[in-house]
């Protein structure tokens, strides 16, 4: 059996075993009522009455992360470009980004609540995570152009801006898209945490409410929703990354 086929089968087996044990533990109540069987969770997910609630919550959170991506990418790209074009700013920008990344997300919540609004807070918290990862990725990507390339541009008489626009920025594209993919889990977490500070709806709200009202199955549903959408988006971003490497690599 070829290695590729074997790994695929093993992988499926692994996931299958996990799902089977989930169901078993739930049915036999081995972990108490806090671990419902997989079938119960899936049943609730498929419930027509619940679905609008799930759809709204998921939609809201995904919207927030999308917005977070836009802001975070803009800020990360901007600061990285600035630090690249003005080398004295390099170290300070690195430190600033590192410090911003070290601020606990739960602390960012109240800050953005005052600075922006209840609705914008999740996107803002999400954007900080995206900002840091994009900043680090683009900073290293901008240095990807080799000395030989830079010499070429010097000989062709290109000024600093032209060189940035036509050489360094395109060279940084693969790193940027890699960064976008890597930032996804953190962005989602940021949005969920941001919602806890007064957002009207979203996955984070769903989770908190389920937790406080002891609705176990609903809680697991929310987790499953988060995982499902996370995997899907991650898969899409991976495809995007491959395309970027094919075009710019």
């Amino acid at each position: 059996m070829r290695a590729g086929t074997r790994n695929f089968l093993l992988g499926t087996l692994g996931i299958g075993l996990f799902l089977a044990s989930w169901e078993t533990i739930g049915q036999l109540k081995l972990a108490g009522i806090s671990w419902p069987p997989l079938s119960a969770v899936l049943e609730m997910m498929a419930d027509d009455n619940r679905w609008p609630l799930f759809r709204r919550a998921l939609g809201a959170t995904l919207e927030e992360t999308a917005l977070g991506y836009v802001w975070g990418t803009g800020a990360g790209l901007g600061l990285a470009a600035l630090a690249h074009l003005l080398p004295p700013l390099r170290r300070g920008s690195d430190r600033l980004a590192a410090v911003l990344n070290s601020v606990p997300s739960i602390a960012l919540g109240p800050i953005f609540l005052v600075l922006l609004s209840r609705e914008s807070t999740p996107a803002a918290v999400s954007s900080i995570h995206v900002f840091f990862i994009v900043f680090v990725s683009v900073s290293s990507g901008l240095q990807r152009a080799t000395a030989a390339h830079r010499d070429l541009f010097a000989v062709l008489g290109a000024d600093r801006l032209k060189r940035f626009w036509r050489l360094e920025l395109p060279a940084a594209m693969p790193a940027l898209v890699s960064g976008l993919r890597l930032a996804w889990p953190a962005a989602l977490i940021g949005a969920i945490i941001g919602e806890w500070f007064g957002a009207p709806r979203g996955l984070g709200i769903l989770i908190i409410n389920a937790m406080q009202n002891f609705q176990i199955v609903l809680l697991w549903c929310a987790v499953l929703l988060a995982v499902g959408s996370s995997l899907l988006i991650y898969g899409l971003l991976t495809l995007l990354e491959r395309a970027a490497y094919a075009r710019f690599g």
Binding site: R6, N7, L9, L10, G11, T12, L13, G14, I15, L17, F18, A31, G32, S34, W35, P88, R91, G92, S93, R95, L96, A98, V99, N101, S102, V103, P104, S105, I106, A107, P110, I111, V114, P185, L188, I189, I192, I193, L203, G204, I207, I208, A210, M211, I216, L219, W220, A222, V223, A226, V227, S230, L231, Y234
Partner: protein, 254 residues
């Protein structure tokens, strides 16, 4: 110490931290300009004041969060590396584990906190479990790839020398994986503390996260921000220290 010798340090500090400094100044001015009630948004100076006047509160909670984070970090790295070694020994284990870990790594950790709290209880054990989970995935991924990146020709060398599998693991694969493990450690160190804090925030037991939640709801906003400031400093320092460790490891093993 004369002025000339002192200047490089000051210059270095300015060079490194102008961004942070600007941010703090902007914060101070923003609060003053908007005449914010300290309950809504305190100034940085007020936060600093609280830190200085109530050190015991902070120290007590920092100790707890730091201990849990450190313990969870080590445990998570051991579990992650251990499973990576198991996958290295057995292709069957590797085939089973790899997709499972991809699946698990896409679960937003914060979503797991309520679930695990129900299973393990609303206390420190949940916080520990969360830190282990968050450090386990990067360790597993980086250890797995590191174990499989020995220096070129070294695998053939060990076969020719008649080395046992255990010998290959101990003398070749594990040392070769050290640089990668150092990277995982760097990433996990900063995240461990922040993850512990989020878990404490939701659980309401003890530690910096709990301090933040409690003081925020008691309208002691300076102290809430103080807790955040302490967490930020520790997290950033952990990241820097781990970076130093990474450089040392790279020098020795790469």
């Amino acid at each position: 110490m004369d002025a000339a010798a002192k200047r490089p340090l000051l210059l270095r500090l300015v060079e490194d931290y102008w961004g942070v400094f600007l941010l703090l100044v902007a914060w101070q001015l923003w609060v003053i300009a908007n005449s914010f009630n300290p309950i809504v948004m305190p100034t940085p100076t007020a936060v600093l004041g609280d830190l200085v006047t109530h050190p015991d509160v902070y120290l007590r909670n920092v100790g707890i969060t730091l201990a849990v984070a450190a313990f969870g970090l080590v445990a998570g790295m051991l579990v992650g590396t251990g499973l990576a070694v198991a996958a290295w020994f057995s292709p069957v284990a590797a085939g089973l584990l790899n997709p499972l870990t991809v699946l698990f790594s896409s679960v937003p950790v914060v979503a797991l906190i309520p679930v695990i709290a129900r299973l393990l209880g609303y206390d420190t054990s949940t916080v520990l479990a969360i830190v282990v989970i968050i450090t386990f995935f990067p360790s597993f991924v980086f250890a797995s790839s590191g174990l499989r990146s020995p220096p070129p020709g070294a695998e053939d060398l060990f076969r020719v020398l008649g080395a046992s599998r255990l010998s290959v693991l101990w003398r070749l694969a594990l040392p070769a994986a050290m640089p990668n493990l150092a990277i995982a450690f760097k990433l996990a160190a900063a995240h461990a503390i922040l993850a512990a804090m989020v878990a404490e925030f939701l659980m309401g037991t003890s530690g910096l996260g709990y301090l933040f939640a409690k003081t925020k709801s008691d309208f002691q906003t300076e102290q809430a921000f103080g807790a955040s400031a302490v967490a930020t400093v520790i997290s950033a320092t952990a990241f820097l220290l781990a970076g130093w460790v990474e450089r040392r490891v790279r020098e020795r093993y790469a």
